[in-house]
C-alpha cells in the first residue's frame, strides 16, 4: 500500500468513491430500493439475487431505518435513519478480501497506519430466513463493515455462494473524516458556497422520527397494516403463474417481496413502540420469515432466479 490516496472531505465523497471503486471492479452500480428497509440486505438486488445459479454483481447505497436506534439526533453515532453501502458478488471471487481492502484504500484508509481486523461474526437474519459466515471488519477497533459469505437465503441453500459486503457509511465516514459527532460531519464540500453538515440535513428528521417512532405511531394502524401486507403477499403468490391477459408466465416474486419488506418494517415500528412482548416477537418474526421464504420459493421459479424455460419445455 505505498500509493497515497488523498483523503475524502465529505460524506458524499466517500459514497462517490465507493461507487467508482466497485464500478471499476465490474459491479452494476444500482440505486437504493424505494421502500423502507432495515438494512441493505433487504434490497431485492441482494435478497433475491443471491438465490439461483445466475452470476450477479451489484453495488448500491441503501437508506436504512431502525426505529429502535433513534436518539433524537443526540447520540454521536446512533440514528434511526442511516445509510448502508452494499456489495453483492455471486459467486464470491477468491480475492474478495483483497478487493474489499482495496475499497478501504480508495476511501482514504492508509493500511500502513491502521489496524484492520476480520473478527468472527456470523450473520443471521431470522426475518429473511437467511444466514452466512463471515466477519465484522474492524478498523482500529471500530466495526466498519460486515463481510458475509451467504449460505442460505429464504430457506434456500445458496449455490453458488454470494459474497456480501455491507459498510455502515456514517460510522465509516466519521472515522475517515475525523468527526466525533455524526451531526458535525460535512455532507457536501465543506468549502462550497452552501456547505451542509449531516446535521443540517438530518438533525431535524431524527428528532421528528424518534418522537413518532417511540411515542406517536398509531399501533392499531401499524398492526392492521402488518396484517394487510401479509395477506397481500400471500395473495400475490397464490396467483396462477400464467398471466391470463398476456398469456405469459409471470411470477410476481418482486411485488410479493415488497409486501414482505413492508411487513418487516412495520414489525420494526411496532417493536420500537414497545408493544410486542418477547413471545409475540418470535411469532411476528416467524410470520415475516414465512413470507420471505415464499418469495424466495417464487423467485427461484423466475428467469432471474435461474429458471430455465427451455429445460422445462423439454421435460
Amino acid at each position: 500500500m505505498t500509493e497515497t490516496i488523498s483523503k475524502p472531505r465529505s460524506f458524499q465523497e466517500i459514497i462517490l468513491r465507493l461507487q467508482n471503486y466497485w464500478a471499476g471492479k465490474g459491479c452494476a452500480v444500482m440505486q437504493p430500493y424505494d421502500m423502507e428497509v432495515g438494512a441493505g440486505t433487504f434490497h431485492p438486488a441482494t435478497t433475491l439475487r443471491s438465490l439461483g445459479s445466475r452470476p450477479w454483481a451489484a453495488a448500491y447505497v441503501q437508506p436504512s431505518r431502525r426505529p429502535t436506534d433513534g436518539r433524537y439526533g443526540e447520540n454521536p453515532n446512533r440514528l434511526q435513519h442511516y445509510y448502508q453501502y452494499q456489495v453483492l458478488i455471486k459467486p464470491s471471487p477468491p480475492n474478495l478480501q483483497e478487493l474489499y481492502l482495496g475499497s478501504l484504500a480508495a476511501i482514504g484508509i492508509d493500511m500502513d497506519m491502521h489496524d484492520i481486523r476480520f473478527v468472527e461474526d456470523d450473520w443471521e437474519s431470522p426475518t429473511l430466513g437467511a444466514w452466512g459466515l463471515g466477519w465484522e471488519v474492524w478498523c482500529d477497533g471500530m466495526e466498519v463493515s460486515q463481510f458475509t459469505y451467504f449460505q442460505q437465503v429464504g430457506g434456500h441453500d445458496c449455490t453458488p455462494v454470494s459474497g456480501e459486503l455491507t459498510y455502515g457509511l456514517e460510522r465509516l465516514a466519521m472515522y475517515i473524516l475525523g468527526v466525533d459527532h455524526v451531526m458535525d460531519m460535512p455532507f457536501n464540500d465543506p468549502d462550497g458556497t452552501i456547505a451542509l453538515s449531516y446535521g443540517d440535513v438530518f438533525k431535524q428528521t431524527e428528532e421528528e422520527y424518534a418522537r413518532w417512532n417511540f411515542d406517536v405511531a398509531n399501533t392499531d394502524v401499524l398492526l392492521k397494516q402488518f396484517e394487510e401486507a401479509e395477506a397481500e403477499c400471500e395473495k400475490i403468490l397464490a396467483q396462477e403463474h400464467m398471466d391470463p391477459k398476456t398469456g405469459k408466465r409471470i411470477i410476481m416474486a418482486h411485488p410479493a417481496y415488497d409486501q414482505c419488506i413492508k411487513a418487516s418494517h412495520l414489525f420494526n415500528l411496532l417493536d420500537a413502540r414497545g408493544v410486542i412482548s418477547v413471545t409475540e416477537r418470535q411469532a411476528y418474526i416467524g410470520r415475516v420469515r414465512a413470507l420471505a421464504k415464499q418469495c424466495a420459493d417464487a423467485f427461484v421459479l423466475t428467469t432471474a432466479g435461474g429458471y430455465d424455460a427451455t429445460a422445462e419445455a423439454g421435460a
Binding site: P76, Q97, I116, L133, Y149
Partner: protein, 704 residues
C-alpha cells in the same frame, strides 16, 4: 536350525537416518479466535491417528494456529510404512472348486501362489498375503485429504462456486517432507483445485508476499521475519507481559481475564499492546459496566487503579506496528470506546431517572412481557414471588413488609436499558438502581443476590432478605412448571429446573432454614403436585449429598422418616447416621439390627402375628437377655429426649450402647425356645430393638 525372522528394516534396506519431518499448513481467511485452539488439536489428532493407522509412526508432533493458518509439524516420521505379511488358512486340498475360488478371490491371489501343507486334518491350502509398504508421501496425501474433507469445525461453509467446506475459504495447502539432509519434497495433493505446495505467506499487511520453505525451522523463522508469531501461547505470553508492564509503569494493574487473553491472542499474528485512557466523563459509570462494555464490544482489557479500585485505562492489542508507534490506532480505539461508553452512559442516565422516580415505569412494563405463555407475564410472576416472599419471610426471621418490598423490585432492572444491552448485568444493575432509588440496602442486595446460587459452586446468599426472595423466586418457578407439567426429562431441562431445585436445597441448608417444603409448595403456584415435586427434590438432594460422600441408602433410611420435607432436619439426620455407620459400633449395630429384624420377620410370617409389644423381663432366663432388657430401657430413655431435641448424634450414641448387649444376646441366647412363652417374650424383645432403632432411622434401607 532355527532362524529368527529378520527384523522388518532388513526386508527393506534404506538409509539408516531416513526419518523425514513433515510440515503441513492450511492457510485460509480469518479463522474465528474461539475455534483455533481446538482446530489445531484436531488437525494433530486426525493426521497422526491416520498416519499411525497406516503404519507410519513418528517421534514428535506439535500443532499451532494463527488467525489465518493451522500448522502441524511432525518429527522423525517413517519414510515408508512397513510391509505387512498375513498368513491365511484356506480350504482342504480337493475341496470343491467354488470354495477354492472364493478363497483366492478373498486373498487376491492365484492358484499357483497357494501353498499346500499337511495338517492333522489332511492337506490344506495356505495363502501368504503380503501388503507392501507404501511411501510416506502417498499415505500423507490420503490422510490429509480425508482430514480436510471431514474436519470437525463447529460451523463450516462453502464459498464461490465450490462444494468444499472449511471454516472460511481455504486458500493454500503447504505440505512438505524434509529429509535429514534438509531436502524438502512437496507431498502432492489437489483438493477441489487447491494444489499443495511449499509456499505460504506472512502477515497480511506487514508480510512480503509468498515465500517457499524447506522445513519447519525455516518456516518458523521466515514467518517471524514476515511478522507472524506462530505459537498462540507465545503470543498470549507476549501480550500479557507487555500489558502488565505498561500498566505497572503507570502504577496500575490489568484486570486478569484468561478467556479474553486467549481470544485476543487468536485475533492477531503480530501482537502490539497499546494502553489508553478512558475519558474522564465515563469514569463515574459502575466498574462492571465499563468492564463489560470494553470486553464485549472492543475486546479490551480493563486497567484498574489499585488504590481506588476504579477502572481508569484500557489495553487494546493491535495486529501491526506502525510508523507512529500505534498513535493513530490508539486514538481510533479511544474514539470508538468513547462512542460505546456514551451509549452506556445514555442508558445509565435514563435508567437512573426511572430508578429515582420509583421504578414504576419498569414494573409496569413487565406486564407487557410474557414469562411463559402458560404462566403469564413477568408482572404476574413478580406478584406471585412477592406474595410467596411474604409467606416465607417469618421462617428466615425477615420482616414481611421488607421482603415484599424487595421482591417487588428485584426484577425491575429487566426493563432497564442497560440490562437490555448487557443481559449479563441483570441483578447487578438492579442493585445499583435500587441504591439510587434510596431503597434499603437489604433490598438493593436482594436485587443482585436473589438469582443466586446459579450453579453448584456459586455463592449462596446469606443475607436474610436476599435468601427469602431467592427462595420465593425459585419455588415459584418450580411449582409453576410443575403445575403446567413442564418437568425436566432426561437431558432436557430447558427451564433449568434442576438448577433451581439445587438452588433451593443449598439456600435451605446453608441458611439452616426450617420449614416444611410441602407447606411452602402449597403457597406457590397453584396446582403443582407437591408429592411429586418433593420426590424431585429428594433426587436432587441425593445427587448433592453424594458429592459430600453421603451414600444414597443412608439418605433413603432417613427419607422414610417423618418430616422428610424439612431438608435441614433430613440432612442433619442423614449426616449423623452416615457418620454413625462409619464407626465400628454403627457397623455392628446395623448387623445386630438386621439379624433381629430378619428373625422377627420370619417368625411373624410363620406365626401370622406381629410381635410388637409385651416383652417382660420376668420371663427372661439368661443374663444376656436381662442385660438387653436393661440396655433397651436405658437407650429408650436416652433416645426419646434426644430425638425430641433433634440431637441425632446423641440418639446415635445411645443406639451405639446397644451394640454390645445385642451381640451378647445373639451369642448366648437361642430365640426359638421350646417354651412358647419364652420364645414369644424373646421375639417381643427383638421387636423393641426394631422399634427403638427404627425411631431414629429406617435401618432396613441401609445396604450391607
Amino acid at each position: 536350525m532355527t532362524v529368527n525372522p529378520p527384523p522388518q528394516t532388513a526386508l527393506h534396506p534404506r538409509k539408516v537416518n531416513d526419518m523425514p519431518d513433515l510440515l503441513i499448513e492450511l492457510f485460509s481467511e480469518e479463522i474465528p479466535a474461539r475455534m483455533q485452539g481446538k482446530a489445531a488439536e484436531d488437525l494433530k489428532k486426525r493426521i497422526t491417528d491416520g498416519l499411525v493407522d497406516a503404519g507410519l509412526t513418528y517421534a514428535g508432533a506439535a500443532a499451532f494456529s494463527t488467525p489465518r493458518r493451522l500448522t502441524l509439524a511432525l518429527e522423525g516420521l517413517l519414510a515408508e510404512s512397513p510391509t505387512v505379511r498375513e498368513e491365511r488358512k484356506g480350504p482342504k486340498v480337493g475341496a470343491p472348486e467354488k470354495a477354492i475360488e472364493g478363497f483366492l478371490r478373498g486373498a487376491g491371489l492365484t492358484m499357483d501362489q497357494l501353498e499346500e501343507r499337511d495338517t492333522p486334518k489332511g492337506a490344506v491350502y495356505f495363502a501368504t498375503i503380503e501388503k507392501p509398504g507404501r511411501p510416506a508421501a502417498e499415505i500423507i496425501a490420503e490422510v490429509l485429504e480425508a482430514t480436510i474433507r471431514n474436519f470437525p469445525w463447529p460451523k463450516s461453509m462453502r464459498w464461490g462456486a465450490g462444494a468444499l467446506r472449511w471454516v472460511r475459504p481455504l486458500h493454500s495447502i503447504l505440505c512438505i517432507l524434509t529429509n535429514e539432509a534438509g531436502e524438502a519434497e512437496v507431498v502432492d495433493l489437489d483438493i477441489d483445485g487447491i494444489k499443495s505446495g511449499n509456499t505460504t505467506e506472512g502477515h497480511r499487511f506487514m508480510g512480503s508476499g509468498r515465500f517457499a520453505v524447506t522445513s519447519f525451522d525455516d518456516y518458523a523463522v521466515k514467518l517471524k521475519r514476515d511478522h507472524v508469531v506462530l505459537d498462540p501461547a507465545e503470543r498470549a505470553d507476549a501480550i500479557w507481559q507487555d500489558a502488565t508492564n505498561q500498566a505497572f509503569a503507570s502504577g496500575l494493574e490489568v484486570v486478569e481475564d484468561q478467556g479474553l487473553l486467549r481470544e485476543v491472542a487468536g485475533l492477531v499474528e503480530w501482537p502490539v499492546v497499546l494502553m489508553g485512557a478512558i475519558d474522564e466523563e465515563f469514569l463515574e459509570l459502575p466498574a462492571e459496566v465499563l468492564q463489560t462494555s470494553m470486553k464485549e464490544h472492543q475486546k479490551f482489557f480493563s486497567v484498574k487503579n489499585p488504590k481506588t479500585g476504579r477502572i481508569e485505562k484500557f489495553i487494546t492489542v493491535a495486529n501491526r506496528e506502525t510508523k507512529d508507534q500505534g498513535a493513530t490506532i490508539l486514538a481510533g480505539n479511544q474514539k470508538v470506546l468513547s462512542a460505546r461508553l456514551a451509549d452506556a452512559k445514555f442508558f445509565w442516565t435514563n435508567d437512573l431517572r426511572v430508578a429515582k422516580s420509583g421504578m414504576e415505569a419498569w414494573t409496569d412494563q413487565l406486564s407487557n412481557v410474557t414469562f411463559h405463555n402458560k404462566l403469564g407475564t413477568q408482572a404476574a410472576r413478580i406478584d406471585r414471588i412477592t406474595a410467596l416472599s411474604r409467606d416465607i419471610a417469618p421462617v428466615l426471621g425477615v420482616d414481611a413488609d421488607l421482603a415484599e418490598q424487595a421482591a417487588r423490585v428485584a426484577k425491575a432492572d429487566l426493563s432497564s436499558e442497560m440490562v437490555y444491552e448487557f443481559p449479563e448485568l441483570q441483578g447487578l444493575m438492579g442493585r445499583y438502581y435500587a441504591e439510587a432509588a434510596g431503597l434499603p440496602s437489604d433490598v438493593a442486595a436482594a436485587c443482585e443476590e436473589h438469582y443466586s446460587p446459579l450453579g453448584p459452586s456459586d455463592d449462596v446468599p446469606t443475607a436474610p432478605v436476599s435468601a427469602t426472595v431467592a427462595l420465593a423466586d425459585k419455588i415459584d418457578t418450580l411449582t409453576g412448571f410443575w403445575a403446567i407439567d413442564e418437568k425436566p426429562t432426561g437431558s432436557k431441562d430447558p427451564y433449568a429446573l434442576r438448577r433451581a431445585a439445587l438452588g433451593v436445597i443449598r439456600l435451605v441448608l446453608e441458611n439452616g432454614v426450617r420449614a416444611s417444603l410441602v407447606e411452602v409448595f402449597g403457597k406457590g403456584y397453584e396446582g403443582a403436585d407437591a408429592a411429586d415435586l418433593l420426590s424431585f427434590f429428594h433426587d436432587r438432594l441425593k445427587v448433592y449429598l453424594k458429592d459430600e460422600g453421603l451414600r444414597h441408602d443412608v439418605i433413603d433410611a432417613c427419607l422414610s422418616m417423618p418430616g422428610n420435607d424439612d431438608l435441614t432436619l433430613l440432612v442433619k439426620r442423614a449426616r449423623a447416621l452416615g457418620a454413625f455407620l462409619k464407626t465400628d459400633d454403627g457397623e455392628n449395630l446395623l448387623q445386630g439390627y438386621k439379624r433381629a429384624n430378619n428373625i422377627l420377620t420370619q417368625a411373624e410370617d410363620k406365626d401370622g402375628v406381629e410381635y410388637s409389644f409385651g416383652a417382660d423381663v420376668k420371663f427372661a432366663e439368661t443374663d444376656e437377655e436381662k442385660a438387653l432388657f436393661a440396655a433397651l430401657d436405658q437407650a429408650a430413655a436416652a433416645i426419646a429426649p434426644a430425638m425430641q431435641g433433634e440431637d441425632f448424634e446423641a440418639a446415635m450414641s445411645a443406639m451405639a450402647a446397644l451394640r454390645a448387649p445385642i451381640d451378647a444376646f445373639f451369642e448366648g441366647v437361642q430365640v426359638n425356645s421350646d417354651n412358647e412363652i419364652v420364645r414369644r417374650n424373646r421375639l417381643n424383645l427383638l421387636s423393641r430393638i426394631r422399634q427403638i432403632c427404627g425411631g431414629v432411622a429406617d435401618l432396613t434401607r441401609v445396604e450391607g
